[in-house]
């Protein structure tokens, strides 16, 4: 008597197992069993947040799927720390993530994100800026799709420059001359000259890199060795420090990030600002004191470099390697980076698309006439060093550069110390 139930169980087991496996592997959302995708992203800066609308549209296209949006902390460094801690040795509680472009090679090398090569056709890839796609392609495989694009540029007060008969400066000594002339003419002690981000964080690193590139210096050579043009690098650092010492830039820029510099410029208290494109939308808001008085120009050059060496930036979307809904998550990524979604983002928020075609789109240009100019800037912009170890490099170098900016170290010493530290790092990475 005891044998029959046992045999029934024995026979039933494989069948049960098979059904369970088949059910678990299925990606289709079975009716009545909602799939929730978790989308982790930073708060979108600008007047309106287009993401909720886009997510609802995705849910409408995929019945039975809910997308839960979760916000990250504000600072890029903290976001990275959050991702690193969550992804490194566990099942992270999210499926789709917004990544700063500089993290993509690192996350790919660490095995934290899904290989998207099979899911994305070549035509779809080619629709994005090459400089945006380059960091996302490692070892011939595609790891993320570009979501929006940034480039460092120079904001200037059109009214002030016109008043004194100046054109946007092409070289930095021209910028300094203009600042001196305008401030002497205006006689307003609260009018700052040139605002930029000098705080010890990734944004500060970007500013220093742009100064290096403006003088024809690189951070790493092709073999990955640091400071291949040390003399020019020294000049760039000395120039930045000089801006503060001479008063062209106020001392507090060494503790300022994007928002701390955007606000004074947006209140009309500065002549020049180095910033990202998102700020333009905020300057053109109806209540903005500088509405209609802001122009956009490529970053000036230093003696040995060229104009427009702005750093590109932006965010990519990637799928967690441990997600349980691979196909759906990839679908979400492709949806959010699609032409239609990026169009909605450009209209609604202060974000610039990663698709060059949208910069020439008649409807979008009608709303935002600065798009064609931005296209040129983006195409001239340069990405930060594309290596999985970029963040390690950056966090190692930031204190050294910061020491120069606050006047604690000379550029020579800083570069010497920075080189020693990077060499030590490289010994661990690439023996």
């Amino acid at each position: 008597m005891a044998r029959r139930p046992a045999r029934a169980v024995l026979l039933g087991m494989p069948a049960l197992l098979l059904t369970l496996i088949a059910g678990g592997c299925g990606e289709r959302a079975t009716p009545g069993a909602p799939v929730t995708l978790v989308f982790k992203h930073a708060k979108i800066l600008g007047p309106a947040d287009p993401v909720p609308g886009l997510l609802r549209r995705f849910e409408a296209l995929h019945p039975g799927v809910r997308v839960r949006s979760e916000a990250l902390t504000w600072s890029s460094d903290e976001q990275h720390q959050f991702y690193a801690i969550n992804l490194e040795g566990g099942s992270p509680p999210f499926d789709v993530m917004m990544l700063d472009v500089i993290w993509v090679p690192e996350f790919a090398r660490a095995g934290w994100i899904l290989d998207l090569t099979a899911f994305v056709p070549a035509a779809e890839r080619a629709a994005h800026f090459p400089s945006a796609l380059e960091p996302a392609v490692q070892e011939g495989k595609l790891w993320a799709l570009p979501w929006f694009m940034n480039v460092g540029l120079l904001y200037y007060r059109t009214d002030l420059l016109a008043k004194y008969g100046f054109a946007p400066p092409e070289a930095y000594d021209e910028l300094v001359r203009q600042v001196r002339r305008i401030r002497a003419g205006e006689g307003d002690p609260r009018l700052d000259g040139f605002l930029w981000q000098g705080k010890q964080y990734e944004g500060g690193m970007v500013n220093v890199l742009e100064a290096l590139w403006a003088n024809g210096a690189r951070l790493l050579d092709d073999a990955g060795r640091p400071f291949p043009e040390p003399a020019r690098a020294r000049e760039s650092l000395a120039f930045l420090r000089g801006l503060i010492e001479s008063g062209v830039s106020p001392g507090w820029v060494t503790a300022a990030d994007e928002e701390l510099t955007r606000r004074p410029f947006g209140d009309g208290r500065a002549i020049f600002l180095r910033g990202w494109p998102y700020a333009l939308d905020l300057f053109e808001l109806p209540a903005s004191p500088v509405r209609g008085k802001v122009g956009v120009a490529p970053l000036p050059r230093l003696p040995h470099g060229e104009v427009g060496a702005g750093s590109t930036g932006g965010a990519h979307l990637a799928v967690s390697a441990r997600t349980r809904h691979q196909a759906l998550a990839v679908e979400l990524v492709r949806f959010l980076t699609s032409d239609a979604a990026q169009r909605a983002m450009t209209e609604g928020a202060a974000l610039r698309p990663s698709r060059p075609s949208l910069y020439r789109d008649a409807a979008l240009v009608a709303r935002d006439p600065s798009l064609p100019a931005l296209l040129g800037l983006m195409q001239r912009g340069r990405p930060r060093p594309i290596t999985p170890y970029y963040l390690m490099l950056s966090t190692t170098l930031q204190p050294e550069f910061s020491a120069v900016l606050v006047g604690r170290k000379s550029p020579e010493r800083a570069i010497r110390d920075a080189t020693a530290q990077v060499d030590h790092l490289l010994r661990a990475i690439a023996p």
Binding site: D77, Q81, A84, E88, G89, E106, R109, A110, Q200, G251, W252, T254, A255, P388, Y389, L391, M392, T395, T396, P399, S402, A403, L405, V406, G407, R408, K409, R413, D417, A420, Q421, H424, L425, R427, A428, I429, P431
Partner: protein, 285 residues
């Protein structure tokens, strides 16, 4: 069950927890410091003494060592001086003693992160109380490399003085008043009473407190990490903050472990040195 067996039964759980979570990691960190170890990229190689060789010539390390030394010496000196002063003031307290102690101990009991945020707000250039009381000058306490370390030391002294004060106060309470009366007969009063009666009796406890506080200051992390993050430009970056950055920001576990071992050795050296001093004191006393 024999007493001996019982003793092992009672000791075992505690020793297990301590051994596994304190002693074992202490040995492990030594082992880690001899490797190139970056778990995120699966890098795990023998490095020998390479990290230590690098630290010996690393300017950032020596800067951190300098900051740690200055922070420790100044902070501990101020705490002990101020703590003794507070204790002397409290000694005669008859009314509202509990309230007084509560006000005093509050600073010590607060979480260090709370203290850090509190002082960050006090030092704020435009919203901070300090600048307000100084007549509205927008001094950037935490952003100026020359001011950040003193500002940090003030915050730390505020936080730790109560501990010193409490211990000195307890010791002062045990000094019988007859000693002072006898001293007054001899013509010693005021400063002389302090130098001849109070000081010799308080000195032993002050030495013990000095030891505790020095070890704590060498290992301090929370306050400087949250208040300044080691900035600006490393002017408040102690060895502990440098180690933390190496470990969790650049993810160099081997290198970070090496810095940790250096802190470890420093702490042990100071502890042994102090204990010798205290032993000699108690023998000659």
């Amino acid at each position: 069950m024999t007493d001996r067996n019982l003793s092992w039964l009672f000791l075992a759980p505690a020793l297990l927890v301590l051994g596994g979570l304190t002693v074992y990691p202490a040995l492990w960190v030594l082992w880690l410091s001899l490797q190139y170890r970056i778990p995120v990229f699966s890098i795990a190689r023998w490095a020998g003494l390479e990290h230590y060789a690098f630290l010996a010539v690393d300017t950032r390390f020596w800067n951190a060592a300098g900051v740690t030394a200055v922070f420790t010496v100044v902070s501990v000196a101020l705490e002990c001086g101020l703590g003794l002063g507070v204790a002397l003031a409290l000694r005669g307290q008859r009314h509202w003693r509990r309230v007084a102690l509560a006000l005093l101990l509050l600073a010590w009991a607060l979480p260090s992160v709370v203290t850090a945020k509190m002082f960050e707000w006090l030092y704020h250039p435009s919203g901070g109380l300090v600048n307000f009381l100084l007549g509205g000058r927008a001094i950037n306490w935490l952003g100026d490399p020359a001011l950040a370390l003193p500002a940090l030391i003030v915050a730390d002294v505020w936080r730790t003085t109560p501990f010193v004060a409490l211990l000195c106060y307890a010791r002062l309470l045990t000094i019988p008043p007859e000693l002072y009366e006898a001293g007054q007969v001899d013509g010693a009063a005021g400063w002389q009473a302090f130098a001849r009666i109070t000081w010799p009796l308080v000195r032993p406890i002050l030495l013990v407190v000095l030891l505790f506080r020095t070890l704590d200051a060498l290992r301090a992390f929370d306050l400087m990490f949250v208040l300044t993050g080691g900035g600006p430009a490393g002017s408040t970056e102690t060895l502990t903050v440098y180690a933390y950055r190496a470990l969790f920001q650049t993810l160099q576990v081997g290198f970070g472990a090496a810095i940790g071992v250096v802190v470890f050795a420093l702490v042990m050296l100071v502890a042994v040195g102090y204990l010798r001093l205290i032993n000699r004191e108690s023998r000659t006393a």
